[in-house]
Amino acid sequence: MTDERWPGEWMRGVLSLCVLRVVADGPTYGYAIAARLGEAGLGSVKGGTLYPILTRLEAEGLVSSSWEAGDGGPGRKFFTLTGNGAEALRERSEQWQVFTERAAGLLSTPSLPV
Protein backbone atom coordinates (compact mmCIF):
# COMPACT_ATOMS: atom_id res chain seq x y z
CA MET A 1 0.00 0.00 0.00
CA THR A 2 1.56 3.29 -1.09
CA ASP A 3 0.32 6.83 -0.67
CA GLU A 4 -2.45 5.74 1.63
CA ARG A 5 -5.49 7.71 2.56
CA TRP A 6 -6.48 6.28 5.89
CA PRO A 7 -9.98 6.76 7.27
CA GLY A 8 -10.21 10.18 8.93
CA GLU A 9 -11.41 8.77 12.24
CA TRP A 10 -8.34 6.53 12.54
CA MET A 11 -6.05 9.47 11.79
CA ARG A 12 -7.80 11.65 14.37
CA GLY A 13 -7.29 8.91 16.94
CA VAL A 14 -3.58 8.32 16.46
CA LEU A 15 -2.10 11.42 14.80
CA SER A 16 -1.43 13.36 17.97
CA LEU A 17 0.47 10.40 19.45
CA CYS A 18 2.48 10.00 16.21
CA VAL A 19 3.33 13.73 16.19
CA LEU A 20 4.53 13.40 19.77
CA ARG A 21 6.71 10.45 18.70
CA VAL A 22 8.25 12.45 15.82
CA VAL A 23 9.01 15.40 18.11
CA ALA A 24 10.66 12.93 20.53
CA ASP A 25 13.46 12.46 17.95
CA GLY A 26 14.67 16.01 18.64
CA PRO A 27 13.53 19.59 18.02
CA THR A 28 11.71 19.78 14.71
CA TYR A 29 9.30 22.03 12.79
CA GLY A 30 5.92 21.65 11.10
CA TYR A 31 6.97 20.83 7.56
CA ALA A 32 9.58 18.29 8.71
CA ILE A 33 7.02 16.63 10.99
CA ALA A 34 4.56 16.32 8.08
CA ALA A 35 7.33 14.87 5.89
CA ARG A 36 8.29 12.33 8.58
CA LEU A 37 4.66 11.23 8.99
CA GLY A 38 4.46 10.82 5.21
CA GLU A 39 7.64 8.71 5.16
CA ALA A 40 6.21 6.53 7.91
CA GLY A 41 3.33 5.72 5.55
CA LEU A 42 0.62 7.71 7.31
CA GLY A 43 -0.26 9.67 4.16
CA SER A 44 0.09 13.38 3.59
CA VAL A 45 -0.91 15.48 6.59
CA LYS A 46 -2.02 19.02 5.75
CA GLY A 47 -0.95 22.09 7.71
CA GLY A 48 -4.56 22.67 8.69
CA THR A 49 -4.55 19.32 10.53
CA LEU A 50 -1.01 19.37 11.88
CA TYR A 51 -0.73 22.80 13.54
CA PRO A 52 -3.90 22.55 15.66
CA ILE A 53 -2.52 19.22 16.96
CA LEU A 54 0.79 20.91 17.85
CA THR A 55 -1.13 23.79 19.43
CA ARG A 56 -3.09 21.33 21.56
CA LEU A 57 0.06 19.43 22.56
CA GLU A 58 1.69 22.72 23.54
CA ALA A 59 -1.37 23.84 25.52
CA GLU A 60 -1.23 20.49 27.38
CA GLY A 61 2.44 21.11 28.17
CA LEU A 62 3.64 18.05 26.24
CA VAL A 63 5.77 20.05 23.78
CA SER A 64 7.35 23.50 23.93
CA SER A 65 8.13 25.76 20.99
CA SER A 66 10.53 28.47 19.89
CA TRP A 67 11.04 30.42 16.67
CA GLU A 68 14.29 30.37 14.77
CA ALA A 69 15.12 32.75 11.96
CA GLY A 70 15.35 31.24 8.48
CA ASP A 71 17.72 32.37 5.73
CA GLY A 72 15.72 35.33 4.47
CA GLY A 73 12.54 33.23 4.88
CA PRO A 74 9.79 33.69 7.45
CA GLY A 75 11.55 31.50 10.04
CA ARG A 76 10.67 28.13 11.54
CA LYS A 77 8.84 27.19 14.69
CA PHE A 78 10.69 24.36 16.41
CA PHE A 79 8.87 21.99 18.74
CA THR A 80 10.63 20.15 21.56
CA LEU A 81 9.32 17.32 23.76
CA THR A 82 8.93 18.24 27.44
CA GLY A 83 9.35 15.90 30.40
CA ASN A 84 5.58 15.51 30.65
CA GLY A 85 5.51 14.88 26.90
CA ALA A 86 8.03 12.02 27.21
CA GLU A 87 5.97 10.50 30.02
CA ALA A 88 2.72 10.83 28.04
CA LEU A 89 4.36 9.37 24.94
CA ARG A 90 5.53 6.30 26.85
CA GLU A 91 2.16 5.67 28.49
CA ARG A 92 0.04 6.24 25.41
CA SER A 93 2.35 4.22 23.15
CA GLU A 94 2.02 1.23 25.48
CA GLN A 95 -1.75 1.65 25.59
CA TRP A 96 -1.91 1.97 21.82
CA GLN A 97 0.11 -1.22 21.45
CA VAL A 98 -2.34 -3.19 23.60
CA PHE A 99 -5.33 -1.57 21.88
CA THR A 100 -4.19 -2.38 18.34
CA GLU A 101 -3.22 -5.94 19.31
CA ARG A 102 -6.68 -6.51 20.74
CA ALA A 103 -8.38 -4.95 17.73
CA ALA A 104 -6.21 -7.01 15.36
CA GLY A 105 -6.95 -10.12 17.40
CA LEU A 106 -10.66 -9.58 17.04
CA LEU A 107 -10.48 -8.69 13.36
CA SER A 108 -8.44 -11.78 12.50
CA THR A 109 -10.92 -14.17 14.10
CA PRO A 110 -12.60 -16.13 11.30
CA SER A 111 -16.23 -15.13 10.98
CA LEU A 112 -18.88 -17.74 11.66
CA PRO A 113 -20.49 -19.24 8.58
CA VAL A 114 -23.90 -17.68 7.93
Binding site: G47, G48, P52, R56, A69, G70, G72, P74, R76, K77
Partner: protein, 188 residues
Amino acid sequence: MGRVLNSTDQAWRDDLLLRLRLLDVPGARIGEVLAEVESHVAETGERPREAFGTPKEYAGQVAAALGVTPVGPWAQVRSGLSWRDLCLAVVCGLSGYAFATALWALGAGEPTTVGLPTWLVALTAALVLGGCALRFVLQARHSPDADPVVDPRDGADMVPFGGRQVALLVGLPLLMLVGMVAGGLLTR
Protein backbone atom coordinates in the same frame (compact mmCIF):
# COMPACT_ATOMS: atom_id res chain seq x y z
CA MET B 1 11.06 39.25 7.14
CA GLY B 2 10.21 37.51 3.87
CA ARG B 3 6.84 38.48 2.56
CA VAL B 4 5.69 35.47 0.62
CA LEU B 5 1.98 36.13 0.33
CA ASN B 6 0.34 37.50 -2.83
CA SER B 7 -2.91 39.48 -2.69
CA THR B 8 -5.22 36.41 -2.64
CA ASP B 9 -3.15 34.91 0.16
CA GLN B 10 -3.13 38.25 1.95
CA ALA B 11 -6.95 38.31 1.79
CA TRP B 12 -6.99 34.74 3.18
CA ARG B 13 -4.69 35.82 6.02
CA ASP B 14 -6.76 38.93 6.79
CA ASP B 15 -9.94 36.83 6.83
CA LEU B 16 -8.30 34.32 9.19
CA LEU B 17 -7.15 37.14 11.47
CA LEU B 18 -10.68 38.55 11.63
CA ARG B 19 -12.26 35.17 12.31
CA LEU B 20 -9.77 34.35 15.08
CA ARG B 21 -10.56 37.74 16.62
CA LEU B 22 -14.29 36.99 16.44
CA LEU B 23 -13.66 33.67 18.20
CA ASP B 24 -11.84 35.52 21.03
CA VAL B 25 -8.48 33.88 20.39
CA PRO B 26 -5.84 35.96 22.28
CA GLY B 27 -3.77 38.35 20.14
CA ALA B 28 -0.45 36.67 20.94
CA ARG B 29 -1.85 33.30 19.86
CA ILE B 30 -3.23 34.83 16.62
CA GLY B 31 0.32 36.06 15.94
CA GLU B 32 1.61 32.50 16.37
CA VAL B 33 -1.04 31.11 14.02
CA LEU B 34 -0.32 33.70 11.30
CA ALA B 35 3.43 33.12 11.59
CA GLU B 36 2.93 29.34 11.39
CA VAL B 37 0.88 29.71 8.22
CA GLU B 38 3.45 32.05 6.68
CA SER B 39 6.33 29.74 7.58
CA HIS B 40 4.51 26.60 6.37
CA VAL B 41 3.47 27.93 2.95
CA ALA B 42 6.96 29.37 2.40
CA GLU B 43 8.37 25.89 3.07
CA THR B 44 5.91 23.82 1.04
CA GLY B 45 5.07 26.30 -1.72
CA GLU B 46 1.38 25.57 -1.14
CA ARG B 47 -1.30 28.26 -1.12
CA PRO B 48 -2.69 28.86 2.40
CA ARG B 49 -6.11 27.77 1.21
CA GLU B 50 -4.96 24.32 0.04
CA ALA B 51 -2.82 23.67 3.13
CA PHE B 52 -5.20 25.06 5.76
CA GLY B 53 -8.68 25.07 4.19
CA THR B 54 -10.98 28.08 4.42
CA PRO B 55 -10.20 30.76 7.04
CA LYS B 56 -13.50 29.96 8.75
CA GLU B 57 -12.75 26.24 9.10
CA TYR B 58 -9.17 26.81 10.21
CA ALA B 59 -10.10 29.48 12.76
CA GLY B 60 -12.65 27.02 14.17
CA GLN B 61 -10.01 24.28 14.44
CA VAL B 62 -7.54 26.61 16.17
CA ALA B 63 -10.19 27.78 18.66
CA ALA B 64 -11.18 24.16 19.34
CA ALA B 65 -7.52 23.19 19.89
CA LEU B 66 -7.16 26.01 22.42
CA GLY B 67 -10.48 25.26 24.06
CA VAL B 68 -11.57 28.87 23.52
CA THR B 69 -15.31 29.38 23.74
CA PRO B 70 -16.37 32.65 22.10
CA VAL B 71 -18.68 35.12 23.79
CA GLY B 72 -21.56 35.99 21.46
CA PRO B 73 -21.08 39.11 19.31
CA TRP B 74 -23.91 40.93 21.10
CA ALA B 75 -22.51 40.26 24.56
CA GLN B 76 -19.16 41.53 23.29
CA VAL B 77 -20.68 44.75 21.89
CA ARG B 78 -22.63 45.35 25.10
CA SER B 79 -19.66 44.77 27.38
CA GLY B 80 -17.45 46.99 25.22
CA LEU B 81 -19.86 49.95 25.23
CA SER B 82 -20.00 52.48 28.03
CA TRP B 83 -22.28 55.49 28.51
CA ARG B 84 -19.23 57.71 28.26
CA ASP B 85 -18.45 56.36 24.78
CA LEU B 86 -22.06 56.88 23.70
CA CYS B 87 -22.10 60.48 24.95
CA LEU B 88 -18.76 61.12 23.29
CA ALA B 89 -20.12 59.78 19.99
CA VAL B 90 -23.20 62.02 20.24
CA VAL B 91 -21.11 65.11 21.07
CA CYS B 92 -18.77 64.22 18.22
CA GLY B 93 -21.68 63.92 15.77
CA LEU B 94 -23.34 67.17 16.88
CA SER B 95 -20.12 69.18 16.76
CA GLY B 96 -19.31 67.68 13.37
CA TYR B 97 -22.70 68.77 12.10
CA ALA B 98 -22.25 72.26 13.59
CA PHE B 99 -18.75 72.57 12.14
CA ALA B 100 -19.91 71.52 8.66
CA THR B 101 -22.87 73.93 8.79
CA ALA B 102 -20.62 76.79 9.94
CA LEU B 103 -18.08 76.03 7.20
CA TRP B 104 -20.86 76.10 4.60
CA ALA B 105 -22.05 79.43 6.01
CA LEU B 106 -18.47 80.79 5.95
CA GLY B 107 -18.18 79.76 2.30
CA ALA B 108 -21.54 81.33 1.49
CA GLY B 109 -20.50 84.52 3.33
CA GLU B 110 -23.29 84.38 5.94
CA PRO B 111 -22.22 86.29 9.09
CA THR B 112 -24.46 84.31 11.47
CA THR B 113 -25.34 80.64 11.94
CA VAL B 114 -28.23 79.63 14.22
CA GLY B 115 -28.22 83.18 15.58
CA LEU B 116 -24.53 83.16 16.55
CA PRO B 117 -21.50 84.60 14.73
CA THR B 118 -20.44 82.05 12.14
CA TRP B 119 -16.74 82.22 13.05
CA LEU B 120 -17.59 81.52 16.71
CA VAL B 121 -19.69 78.47 15.84
CA ALA B 122 -16.96 77.17 13.51
CA LEU B 123 -14.21 77.71 16.10
CA THR B 124 -16.14 76.15 18.99
CA ALA B 125 -17.25 73.17 16.90
CA ALA B 126 -13.70 72.65 15.59
CA LEU B 127 -12.28 72.68 19.13
CA VAL B 128 -14.88 70.24 20.45
CA LEU B 129 -14.42 67.98 17.41
CA GLY B 130 -10.63 68.08 17.80
CA GLY B 131 -10.96 67.21 21.49
CA CYS B 132 -13.25 64.26 20.73
CA ALA B 133 -10.89 62.98 18.02
CA LEU B 134 -7.92 63.25 20.39
CA ARG B 135 -9.85 61.38 23.09
CA PHE B 136 -10.71 58.56 20.65
CA VAL B 137 -7.11 58.25 19.47
CA LEU B 138 -5.70 58.21 23.02
CA GLN B 139 -8.32 55.71 24.14
CA ALA B 140 -7.57 53.42 21.20
CA ARG B 141 -3.82 53.61 21.83
CA HIS B 142 -3.83 53.08 25.58
CA SER B 143 -6.84 50.86 26.04
CA PRO B 144 -6.12 48.30 28.79
CA ASP B 145 -8.00 45.62 26.85
CA ALA B 146 -6.06 46.25 23.66
CA ASP B 147 -4.80 42.82 22.71
CA PRO B 148 -2.36 43.37 19.85
CA VAL B 149 -1.51 40.63 17.38
CA VAL B 150 2.20 40.29 18.07
CA ASP B 151 4.62 38.55 15.73
CA PRO B 152 6.26 35.81 17.85
CA ARG B 153 9.45 36.13 15.78
CA ASP B 154 10.31 39.80 16.29
CA GLY B 155 7.65 41.17 18.64
CA ALA B 156 6.30 43.50 15.94
CA ASP B 157 2.63 44.43 15.76
CA MET B 158 1.26 42.33 12.89
CA VAL B 159 -1.69 44.64 12.30
CA PRO B 160 0.07 48.01 12.35
CA PHE B 161 -1.92 51.21 12.18
CA GLY B 162 -0.12 52.37 9.07
CA GLY B 163 0.17 55.56 7.06
CA ARG B 164 -2.67 54.54 4.74
CA GLN B 165 -5.15 54.13 7.59
CA VAL B 166 -4.11 57.47 9.10
CA ALA B 167 -4.38 59.16 5.69
CA LEU B 168 -7.87 57.72 5.24
CA LEU B 169 -9.03 58.62 8.76
CA VAL B 170 -7.72 62.19 8.55
CA GLY B 171 -8.05 62.78 4.82
CA LEU B 172 -11.67 61.75 4.37
CA PRO B 173 -13.19 64.09 7.01
CA LEU B 174 -10.86 66.86 5.84
CA LEU B 175 -12.04 66.39 2.26
CA MET B 176 -15.66 66.59 3.40
CA LEU B 177 -15.02 69.81 5.33
CA VAL B 178 -13.28 71.38 2.32
CA GLY B 179 -16.32 70.26 0.31
CA MET B 180 -18.61 72.13 2.70
CA VAL B 181 -16.64 75.39 2.24
CA ALA B 182 -16.60 74.86 -1.52
CA GLY B 183 -20.35 74.14 -1.50
CA GLY B 184 -20.96 77.35 0.42
CA LEU B 185 -18.78 79.33 -1.96
CA LEU B 186 -20.75 78.01 -4.93
CA THR B 187 -24.00 79.38 -3.50
CA ARG B 188 -22.67 82.96 -3.57
